[in-house]
């Protein structure tokens, strides 16, 4: 691993084929992200991870590192744009954090804190999205879906089941499940699926588990989301 690039003034080493995101995380540098997950092929859709490479903006989760490139990430300008994207995701869906089981473990919420979000800023869309409670073990609350497609990739690429997919277009894009009835109960989805454990927000929830860990003691209550990259670096 002899090649390097510069990220916010820091020298970062990378191996051939690694993306900026992978190399940065390995070096303990946090770049905000929502649709990226180290176990899956990057999607490049949420755009939270956007950085400036040699003056041009690009998603760091899909962009391969190139020796000598100069990358800006933690700048007021880029963070302001990331904040606006986060606010967009909040107004696009229905996110009532105080009543959400995922509160404190939610990456969207934690990212909002990280970026200093004080209000949703934009007018709420208040979309009408039905909840799917048909499955015996799992609840789907689509109100919170940010269309990151992690469940789609997990079910397709790891579970080999294709339980989830995106349908619709534009602002009407939405998640569907693999059943004629459109109900999760009529799919072969189980709690053991990888897809049951990748949702960064509170859509795919285990039933009959409420407040097992009290608010205040959850993942991002204890440490900010930016600490996740450091943890990765220390593990190595």
């Amino acid at each position: 691993m002899s090649q390097t690039f510069i990220l916010d003034g820091k020298t970062i080493s990378f191996a051939d084929g690694q993306t900026i995101m992978q190399a940065a995380t390995q070096a303990g540098v946090f770049i905000p992200h929502l649709c990226y997950h180290p176990d899956f092929k990057p999607h490049g859709s949420c755009k939270l991870c956007t950085v400036k490479v040699n003056g041009r903006q690009t998603a760091s989760c899909t962009m391969r590192a190139i020796a000598g490139m100069v990358v800006e990430s933690d700048t007021p300008e880029i963070n302001a744009e990331r904040l606006a994207l986060t606010q967009m995701l909040f107004v696009e869906g229905n996110h009532f954090c105080p009543s959400c089981e995922q509160s404190g473990n939610c990456q969207l919420q934690a990212t909002a804190y990280h970026l200093g979000m004080m209000s949703p800023h934009f007018d709420h869309f208040f979309p009408n999205r039905a909840v799917d409670a048909s499955h015996p073990d799992v609840l789907l609350d689509f109100n919170r879906c940010i269309l990151c497609s992690l469940c789609v990739r997990a079910s397709r690429d790891v579970d080999g089941k294709n339980v989830f997919a995106l349908s619709g277009r534009g602002i009407k894009t939405h998640l569907i499940v693999n059943a004629k009835s459109g109900q999760l109960a009529d799919t072969n989805f189980t709690l053991d699926d990888k897809a049951a454990h990748v949702c960064p927000v509170g859509v795919i929830l285990k039933k009959r588990r409420g407040f097992a860990v009290p608010i205040g003691e959850r993942t991002y209550d204890k440490q900010p989301i930016s600490a996740t990259a450091k943890a990765v670096a220390e593990e190595r």
Binding site: G44, C46, M88, L89, S167, G168, I171
Partner: protein
């Protein structure tokens, strides 16, 4: 047998026939769904059951694709599915009143299906008939030059359930309207001549296409034609006509030099999605110059070493499918398409036509390739680019219809000849699709370098307030800029040239364009999916008289975000029409500012509209008048 089972069996029979026609290849999913719908009027759940079984693909994949395209229906939409083209030119020609007339005559609400399930009426993005609008599509057949009388006739035909095939033929007549022809529209190519010329040409001394390694696989060694063809394209200094203006020679060479893995091949794709509102020149080229286009594709295949090609034709031009297939068939008979072209052993190339289904984003080349592969048309992450990883991950060139037509002319007459037309940096001619406020809308072909003023004079435009060049994603020009010229040095264009006289409200023009982008955003990336909706809401807020200077700042902020964060060109340009018109036609906006300070978008009276509709009331007591609350309305 129960009626339901009979229905399911009938649907299964249709699905089986269509799937067999497409060789059971799920890469053809979009074409399969489209043809199933042509037979069933929609895509019923039983069809998806059957597709799942015979193609062995998950239901989620089928429904994901069906849900993406505006022209595919997983809910019944009636025997007659009527869509009014809703480009700004259709608006100017009075499409709204005509749509209302048809709706009230047939007792159906816009966007809904009639109670008897016979028909539905809705709007759709520009159908490419701007020079002969207002226009509509009935079950994807184009009807032009709508008038109140024609609308009444249509209502009568629908009421009497007359099959579409028996409607008067002149309803479906589409004119070429060629007003000014130059080297392309004046060309009278004998099919095959350009290919013969390309084949006869030997590489010249100062060979530009240095790389000889990838000489066409399958061709006898020693043929210099492919390299010579590429040289001519480079000499011609040809640049793409689809909007971005990429240098065609470089694209072809990169594809030709891209390494092939075992079992891979190269592909030629012609982009006939022509979705930019106000553009219709590709329609005319495919109507009356199809040989030129196919010959250009074949010459390209010869140059890069491809055996398969696709024409991706927008769904709005469905009526061109049969005539185009006939041209392909004739070319096969004439040995200028298919196997052993011109009698050269191993010179094989054939073209398939794929139809789109109402998605502007599929004009973006990587989304187009996804769509060709039977998927949702979302743009890919790039790099890698299509020249190395295109159709089925194999080297692919994607070019516009007009680019291929120009390539055929270059194959015939040589690059130097072509480069001598136009300007130094913009070789050749450009076809403009002229529409809007002028006496003679239609096609105008000019050598590059023509001024806006010249075009306006030629088409008989008077009292001009503004010209939108290259559609909503292009640029809006005010009279002070009419000396500027068409060309890559100044104003590049994909061809749309839409004229607005002084009676037009430029704010409403921009609002129409913003609605277009919102409707056509593919929804893949956050900034464009949510941002175009926010922008639309802001423009509607201004339209409703609730705007304030604060909203300008918001628009500016959204523009920044869309430009820097969006995944593709649609998002990058979605704010252009608003920014241009704010800068150049500010009074049109200022008239709409109710206050100097912030005004909420929320309108109490409007919020009661649903209640009014439910109770059937519209009396004064069912309204809240702003004055009552001491506001200055």
């Amino acid at each position: 047998m129960a009626l339901n089972d009979m229905h399911a069996e009938g649907v299964a029979g249709i699905v089986d026939r269509v799937v067999a026609h497409y060789r059971r290849d799920s890469n053809n999913m979009l074409q399969i769904l489209r043809e199933v719908q042509e037979a069933c009027d929609w895509i019923p759940p039983e069809a998806i059951d059957r597709l799942q079984a015979v193609l062995g693909v998950p239901r989620t994949k089928i429904e994901g694709v069906a849900g993406f395209y505006s022209f595919l229906y997983t809910q019944p939409r009636g025997k007659y599915r009527i869509l009014f083209s809703d480009n700004v030119t259709d608006n100017m020609q009075g499409n709204r009143a005509l749509m209302e007339r048809l709706c009230s005559s047939l007792w159906v609400e816009p966007g809904k299906v009639s109670e008897d399930g016979l028909l539905s009426i809705d709007k759709t993005s520009c159908t490419g008939m701007c020079d002969q609008g207002p226009a509509m599509l009935v079950n994807n057949r184009a009807i032009t030059r709508l008038t109140a009388a024609r609308i009444d006739e249509i209502a009568e035909l629908v009421r009497n359930k007359v099959p579409l095939g028996e409607w008067p033929a002149d309803f479906f007549q589409v004119e070429d309207n060629i007003r000014k022809a130059d080297i392309m529209l004046d060309s009278r190519l004998q099919p095959g001549d350009a290919l013969r010329a390309a084949h006869a040409r030997v590489p010249s001394d100062g060979l530009m296409s240095s790389n000889m390694r990838s000489w066409r696989e399958g061709l006898p060694s020693g043929i210099g034609g492919p390299a010579a063809m590429l040289d001519e394209i480079k000499r011609a200094n040809l640049r793409g006509r689809g909007g971005a203006g990429f240098i065609t020679g470089l694209k072809w060479e990169a594809c030709r030099n891209a390494p092939l893995k075992a079992g891979q091949q190269r592909f030629v794709v012609c982009n006939a999605d022509e979705g930019e509102p106000g553009t219709f020149k590709d329609r005319v080229l495919l109507t009356s110059y199809a040989d030129l286009v196919f010959e250009g594709m074949t010459a390209a295949a010869y140059a890069i070493g491809a055996r398969r090609g696709f024409l991706y034709l927008r769904g709005e031009y469905r009526y061109l499918l049969e005539p185009l297939m006939a041209v392909l068939e004739r070319r096969r008979k004439e040995k200028i398409l298919g196997t052993d072209i011109l009698g050269i052993p191993g010179a094989d190339f054939d073209i398939e036509i794929h139809l789109g289904a109402g998605a502007y984003i599929c004009g973006e080349e990587s989304a187009l390739i996804e769509s060709l592969e039977g998927k949702r048309g979302t743009p890919r992450n790039r790099p890698p680019f299509p020249v190395t990883n295109g159709y089925l991950d194999q080297p692919t060139i994607v070019n516009n219809v007009e680019t291929f037509a120009a390539a055929a002319l270059i194959a015939l007459n040589g690059g130097e000849w072509y480069a001598s037309v136009g300007t130094r940096h913009s070789a050749g001619t450009k076809i403009l699709s002229v529409s809007g406020d002028c006496e003679r809308p239609g096609l105008y072909e000019y050598p590059f370098g023509v001024s806006i003023r010249q075009v306006l004079a030629d088409c008989g435009a008077q009292d001009v307030q503004a010209v939108q060049v290259s559609g909503p994603s292009g640029i809006c020009l005010s009279p002070a800029e009419f000396e500027r010229t068409i060309g890559f040095e100044d104003i590049p264009t994909a061809g749309a040239f839409t004229i607005f006289n002084n009676s037009r409200d430029m704010f409403e023009v921009a609002r129409n364009y913003v609605h277009f982008f919102q409707h056509e955003s593919c929804g893949f990336c956050t900034p464009c999916r949510v941002g175009t909706s926010l922008l639309k809401n802001l423009m509607d807020k201004l339209h409703n008289g609730c705007g304030s200077p604060y909203d300008f700042a918001e628009i500016e902020k959204l523009n920044q975000l869309l430009q820097s964060m969006s995944h593709c060109g649609l998002g990058h340009t979605a704010c252009n029409p608003v920014l241009d018109t704010i800068a150049k036609f500010r009074p049109a906006y200022e008239r709409r500012l109710a206050q100097k300070d912030f005004v909420p978008a929320f309108d109490l009276d409007q919020a009661l509209a649903a209640a009014r509709q439910m109770t059937g009331r519209d009396d004064p007591g069912a309204h809240i008048i702003k004055e009552e609350f001491g506001e200055d309305a």
